[in-house]
């Protein structure tokens, strides 16, 4: 029986790896998640005949069925309902649940003291509890921030010192749990969990919303690691493999995201955004407005148009109209492409998801490295609700907080049209030099309303 169960776990682990592999290409990605899903169903079903439950099978069966129905049911409904724009925080929430589950498994093991004299297993259980707890509470904070439930960033003097001390105490409590056999008190164990959860909250609360994608990705890797450790504690290699694969993949993904945002991970976690030294350059010139009809004509008679969408477009739900406009332009023989900055939207790749939802095929969507050379030969660069990712200050102004961040070189295009809701500054509060350039025209108004006007004008031509 046990051999059979382990065989199924082995197959599940293989399906996870193959599934993730297939997810790394847009052509096979859809199959990939299905493969991984089959692996998950197999592993879950076979666990019902696991020897751990044979002692009191009806209790084992009922508790598990009830819990899976509740947890899975809620997740199913929320997952089906969530809007594509809200995807990042939903991923954070589901990830936090995984971390919480890993921590709770550790809690049961540590309360039982079943392995308390095996120092390695006990240490791994403690470590899994610590990492899982941090991923749980930290992800909940990340969710609250992106969902807009928690708008403030909480900072106070000596915050890093307080966080550091808390972490130190957690580590000491953890070491005590690991090495003192079954001699530890339940109060010490309780305190360990409370402080580990508190540390997750305290270390995430001061981080601004713009940095959240990196944080979510990091906690995703954390949960993976915690799950891998629990796999060792419980003696289930499939959990070890799946957990560690996600742990390492997540770490790499975190690095890629941080690099795309030009924010080293240490900066994201330990410093505050916008604390730059020196005065930012004064902007000269003025912003020049353009009417929607003129903008439409300019694009209709261009030979090449590059569209740079930002989160503002998604908020205004303008992507469907923009795709309609793109098709009209294509019919007139205009070459249209979408240029996506790695952090467009709320996390890398988020904008691609939003465009895909509107029906834009992925082969006319290009990322920064592919497209940046093409701006020089572009007649019109249309910037929709994007700001920092096209700010030339990142290239030329050493004192700008975003200096050094890779940007899309929209300013190299012959004409730039910026669709923007109002004259204010963007998400990060940094003045955008592009908006004041000689070849830039501003098209003010709600992105969807403006897109409607653009479509109407092009149709009449």
């Amino acid at each position: 029986m046990e051999t059979f169960i382990n065989l199924i776990y082995l197959i599940a682990a293989a399906l996870f790896i193959l599934g993730l592999k297939r997810m790394s290409s847009p052509v096979t990605a859809r199959d990939g998640i299905v493969w991984a899903g089959v692996g998950m169903v197999l592993a879950t079903v076979v666990t019902f005949i696991h020897p751990a439950g044979s002692e009191d099978f009806s209790r084992f069966f009922l508790i598990n069925i009830a819990a899976i129905t509740i947890g899975g049911g809620i997740a199913w409904v929320t997952g089906k309902k969530v809007k594509m724009t809200d995807m990042p925080q939903m991923i954070a929430l589901y990830n936090g649940m995984g971390g919480g589950a890993a921590a709770a498994i550790s809690a049961v093991i540590l309360i039982q003291q079943e392995y308390s004299h095996d120092i390695i297993i006990q240490s791994m259980a403690v470590l899994g509890a610590l990492i899982g707890s941090m991923a749980f509470s930290g992800s909940l904070i990340a969710y609250a921030k992106l969902q807009g439930i928690m708008r403030k960033t909480y900072r106070f003097e000596n915050q890093q010192l307080v966080n550091g001390l808390t972490f130190l105490v957690v580590i000491l409590l953890g070491i005590n749990l690991a090495i003192s056999g079954s001699d530890y008190s339940m109060f010490g164990l309780f305190l360990f969990f409370v402080l580990a959860l508190a540390f997750g909250v305290m270390s995430t609360a001061p981080i601004g919303g713009a940095d959240m994608p990196v944080v979510i990705s990091l906690y995703n890797a954390f949960t993976g690691l915690a799950v891998g450790l629990e796999g060792y504690v419980l003696g289930i290699p499939a959990m070890m493999i799946a957990g560690i694969v996600v742990g390492s993949a997540g770490t790499l993904l975190t690095q890629l995201m941080a690099k795309a945002m030009n924010r080293p991970i240490s900066n994201v976690l330990f410093s505050n955004f916008g604390d730059s030294s020196g005065e930012a350059q004064e902007v000269t010139g003025s912003m020049k407005e353009i009417e929607a009809s003129d903008a439409a004509i300019q694009m209709a008679f261009a030979s090449k148009v590059l569209i740079i969408p930002g989160y503002g477009m998604a908020v205004a739900q303008a992507q469907h109209k923009i795709w309609e406009m793109t098709k009209l332009l294509q019919e007139r023989g205009v070459e249209v492409k979408f240029a996506i900055h790695p952090v467009a939207g709320r996390m890398p790749g988020h904008m691609n998801v939003l465009l895909a939802e509107a029906g834009v095929p992925y082969d006319i969507i290009a990322d920064l490295d592919e497209i940046n050379e093409e701006f020089k030969n572009t007649d019109v660069a249309l910037v929709i609700g994007a700001n920092d990712v096209v700010n030339p200050a990142a290239r030329n102004d050493k004192n700008s907080p975003i200096y050094g961040m890779p940007i899309l070189n929209a300013d190299y295009a012959s004409n730039v049209i910026v669709m923007k809701r109002g004259k204010g500054k963007g998400f990060s509060g940094i003045e955008n030099h592009l908006f004041f350039e000689e070849n830039t025209r501003m098209l003010y108004g709600d992105a969807q309303a403006s897109a409607n006007k653009l479509v109407a004008t092009i149709k009449e031509l």
């Binding site: 382990n6 990605a29 439950g53 991923i91 309360i111 560690i244 890629l256 890398p348």
Partner: protein, 97 residues
């Protein structure tokens, strides 16, 4: 299944390399679905949570294990649903024409 210390280290090491290899070739357009997909994969914690229910004695341990299964099932099911929804939408213009 009892796993000897060094065998565990080998498993961890090989799994870490595997994860690194898989992700290093992923195009940026798939970063969000992939993060969501990997988020789904660590939903395997569900298996561990279910086994913890088997190990648990008495009310409090059972309650904690129950919560573990609820959370883990949320991770697995939610992760699957949102990833599938995202990947379903990716289409190529070549296929359409």
């Amino acid at each position: 299944m009892v796993i000897e210390g060094f065998v565990a280290l080998y498993i961890f090491m090989l799994a870490a390399f595997t994860g690194y290899e898989i992700i290093s070739k992923v195009p940026v357009i798939l970063h969000t679905p992939l993060m969501s997909g990997s988020n789904f994969v660590h939903g395997i914690v569900l298996v561990g949570a279910m086994i913890a229910v088997g190990h648990a004695d008495g009310f409090w341990q059972s309650a904690i294990a129950f919560i573990a299964v609820v959370l883990a099932a949320g991770n697995a099911v939610g992760g699957y649903v949102v990833t599938e929804r995202m990947l379903e939408m990716f289409t190529s213009s070549k296929k359409d024409k």
